[in-house]
Assembly symmetry: C3
Homo-oligomer: 315 residues x 3
C-alpha cells in the first residue's frame, strides 16, 4: 500500500479488519514498531476524534507524531499548477508536500470538501496533490469525498455485533442545519461492499449520493420501509449531491426517533459523530443501550492503528 486515500488502497480489506480487531485486544504489542520514525498530522479543518484517535494509534505503535493546524499555524497553500502566486497563498503544495516528506515518514491529512465546486471536490485536489508531490505515504483523515478510517472503524463495530443471520444494514439520511459533505456516506457505502449484508440506503428526494458510488445498491425514499427489521441503522446527513452543496430541507421528518427504531429488529444505532441531538437523532436514540456511537469512536483507534502498522511494515 503506497498511500491510504480510500478503502480500495488496502491490500486486503478482510485482513485489515482482522488486524484491527487483534490490535484492539492487545493495543501495545507492537509498541516499538514506530521507533525513530515520525507521523505528521496536517489539519485543514477541525477534528476531535480523528486527531486524538490517530495520535493514540500512533502512540500504541511507539510512533511519534507532529501535529500541524494549517489554518492557524502555517502558510496558506496554493494547489493550482502554473499560477502566478501573487495572492494570499504563499506556499505551493509542490514544495509543502516535498518539505513535509523530509521531516515525516508518513503524513495524515484532513481536508474537507468545499461543497461549492463539485468538480474540484471530486478531484480531491488536496489529498491527491500531497500524494503526488510527497515522497512518503499519505493517509486520509477525511477528504472531500472519502473518510475511510471512519468506515473501517464502522466495519469493526458491525463485526463486534455480528448477528446470527445475514444482517440488514440501513444507511439513512437525516436532517442537519448546515451543508455537510458526502465523505462519510460514500466511504460507508464502499465499506459495505466488503461485508455480507442486506444493505439499503434511504434518503429524501434530491439527496441521492453519487450514483457511481451507489451503483447496484437498493436506494429508497421510503425511510419507514427501509428501517423495517433493520439490524443496524447508520445515520448521517449530507447535502444534496445533484444540486451540489444545497440544503433542500431541514424539517425533522427524517430525524431518527425511538418510535422509528421500534420498527427495526431491535436495531443498533450508528453515527460517526459529531451528532446534533434532537436534529439528526433524538436523545432517546442516543441514550439507548442500542446506540453504538461511542464504541464506533473507540474503534477509530484500531482502524488507524491497522493502517499505520501496514504502512510501517511497507517501508
Amino acid at each position: 500500500m503506497k498511500n491510504f486515500i480510500t478503502l480500495a488502497d488496502l491490500p486486503d480489506f478482510d485482513q485489515t479488519l482482522h488486524l484491527a480487531m487483534e490490535l484492539k485486544k492487545q493495543p501495545t504489542q507492537w509498541d516499538s514498531m514506530g521507533r525513530g520514525k515520525t507521523l505528521g498530522l496536517l489539519f485543514f479543518n477541525p477534528s476531535l476524534r480523528t486527531r486524538l484517535s490517530t495520535q493514540k494509534a500512533a502512540q500504541n505503535l511507539g510512533l511519534p507524531t507532529m501535529v500541524m493546524n494549517f489554518s492557524q499555524e502555517s502558510w496558506a497553500l496554493e494547489f493550482e499548477d502554473g499560477t502566478k502566486m501573487s495572492g494570499l497563498r504563499s506556499e505551493h503544495v509542490k514544495e509543502a508536500a516535498a518539505v513535509v516528506s523530509q521531516y515525516c515518514d508518513m503524513v495524515a491529512i484532513r481536508a474537507f470538501a468545499s461543497l461549492s465546486d463539485k468538480e474540484k471536490d471530486e478531484a480531491e485536489i488536496v489529498l491527491k496533490s500531497f500524494a503526488q508531490y510527497a515522497s512518503v505515504p499519505i493517509i486520509n483523515m477525511e477528504s472531500a469525498t472519502a473518510h475511510p478510517l471512519q468506515a473501517l472503524a464502522d466495519a469493526i463495530t458491525l463485526k463486534e455485533h455480528q448477528t446470527p443471520h445475514k444482517p440488514k444494514v440501513v444507511l439513512s439520511w437525516a436532517p442537519h442545519p448546515k451543508a455537510l459533505p458526502h465523505a462519510v456516506g460514500n466511504s460507508f457505502v464502499n465499506m459495505m461492499g466488503y461485508m455480507e449484508a442486506d444493505f439499503v440506503i434511504t434518503h429524501p428526494e434530491g439527496y441521492a449520493l453519487n450514483p457511481e458510488i451507489t451503483k447496484g445498491i437498493e436506494c429508497t425514499t421510503d425511510q419507514q420501509k427501509a428501517l423495517k427489521d433493520a439490524d443496524f441503522v447508520y445515520t448521517k446527513n449530507w447535502c444534496s449531491y445533484e444540486e451540489y452543496g444545497q440544503i433542500l430541507r431541514t424539517d425533522d421528518q427524517w430525524m431518527i426517533t425511538p418510535e422509528k427504531m421500534k420498527h427495526t429488529n431491535n436495531g443498533k444505532f450508528m453515527h460517526c459523530l459529531p451528532i446534533r441531538r434532537n436534529i439528526v437523532a433524538s436523545d432517546g436514540v442516543l441514550d439507548s443501550p442500542n446506540s453504538l456511537v461511542i464504541q464506533q469512536s473507540q474503534n477509530r483507534i484500531y482502524s488507524a492503528q491497522a493502517v499505520l502498522k501496514q504502512l510501517l511494515e511497507n517501508e
Copy 2:
C-alpha cells in the same frame, strides 16, 4: 480520588503536599509510571503556565499527553440537556466526554467563568458535565470557580518559606482593567483551611468573595491594617461577586507597592500570574527578592505531578 475538581477531592491534603515536595526533589523517580497511558489536555481558554507545567509533570511521570484547543481545533460543544442542537454547537458534551474517555486515561480541562451568568458559573457546567459523562478521571486546570492546582502549588511555596512562628497570610484584592474570575481567590481560601496560619482577606467595598467560601475567615476593607506584619501577601484581582461580573473601580489605591510592603514583616509577595505590572503590583514589588511568583510557577509542575501520580495509582 475519582476526579480532581477541587482540593476537597484529595484523599489527604497534607500527604499530597508532602508528595509534591518529594517529587520536586526527585522529579523523575517514577518516570515509567505513565507508560502506555495518555493524558488529554482540553483548553477552552488561553494558558501558559498550566499548559506547560502540566505537560512537564506528565513527562516526569512518563505519561504521554495530547493537547486540544477547543476554541480553534475542534467543534463547539453543547452543554444543555434536551436542546434541539440547531445552532452553532455541533457536538454535545455527552458524546465529547464519552469519546475522549476512549482515547485518554485522564482528561484535564480548563474552562473559565463566563462572569455573565452566576448561576451557570457556579454550576461548573463544563467540568461537571465532563465528570458526569466521562468514564475516566477529570482534572481541573481552572474552572469557573476553582483553580486547585494553583492553590496546591501555593501551599508548596508557603511551606518552602515556613516561618519560625505561625505566619500571617493576607489575601489582598488588587485592581485590574478587565473583569477576572474568582477561581484563584476561592481556591487559595480553601487551601488556607488546611494550613496553620493567621489568615486575613482584604478587599474594597463590594468585592467580597462568595460568603459561603469565606465563612469564618477574617475579612476587612482596611488593606493597611491587613498588611500590617504580614509574612505573606497573596495578591489577586477578582470582579465583584455580589454585582456579579462587574468592575466597581480601577483606580490604583489597592495596587501593591514597595511602600505598602514596608509595613509587612519583611513579607513575601505572591501572585498566580499572569500579572499586570504597575496595575496589580508595581515593578518594585515584582522585582524584589521577596517576590515568590516565579517559584510559585515552578511549583505548578509538582502540584500537577502529585495529582497525576495519585490518579495513576488509583487505576
Copy 3:
C-alpha cells in the same frame, strides 16, 4: 554557547557545520541525550519548516518538545519596561521568560520583524528580552533581523554541492507582493563570511540590505552581471531597508527564470521557502534538477540538531 541568537554565538562555525553533516549521516546516534529534558518552542508567527524540522531534530536527540502558539493559545506579552499594563497585554516578558525557564531546559522562539519600526526591530526586543529574563538558553527560530538556523542549513547545502573551484555565490533579491523581513538575507550574508567563495549581492535600487551587515561585500544593481557564471543563486525577497518596510516595486523584471539561469555556470538554485511560484522564481527554475530548495529544507533538521546538541552538552 549561552544562547543561539545569531551565527556569531556558535563557539566554532566550521565545527558546527561538520557536526551537522555527521548528524545527517547518523541522525539518531545520540538519541538519549535529551532524556529528562524539555525544549519549548514558542511561536509568535506562522511556521511550517522551522516547526517540524526543529521538532524532528529534538526527537532525533530524544529531547521532548512542548509547542506553544502565542497568538492563539496564551496571553499577549508586554515587552516595554516600566509601563502601566492597562491595555491588551496581560503578561510581561519578565515573568513569561522566567516562568518558561522553570518548565523548559531550552526555549526556541520565532518572532518576526514588525517592518514598521526599524529601531524596535533592530533592538530584537522579543529575542533579547527572553534571553535577558530567561535562565535557560534561547534559540532563534527567526527573529526580526536574523534566521541563523536557515543560514546554517544553507551552509550544509552549499557544502554538499562543493565545486572543484572556489564557487561564485550570488544572493539575488526577487520580487514579492508582501513586505518581507531582512532576516534570511542578513543571516545568509553572515554565513557567507565563514565560507570560501566569491560572494556577490544583487538587488534593485533602494533594496540594499543593512550596510553594516554587507560591509566589504560586492553589491550590484546589475542582476545579469551578477548571475554570470554563478555556481549558486540564492534568491530571496526583502522589503526596502532604507525606506524601511516599503515595497518599491512588484514587477517581474527581477524574477529568476530558466533564461537567467542559462547565464550561470549550470548554477544551483536556492531559496529558504516558502516561495511564491512565478513571482520570485518561475516554475521552470523550481522544477529543475538544479533546484536545491527541498534539500535545504531537509538540512534544517541537522542545523537545528547541531545547535541543540551543543546546547545540551553545555549544561
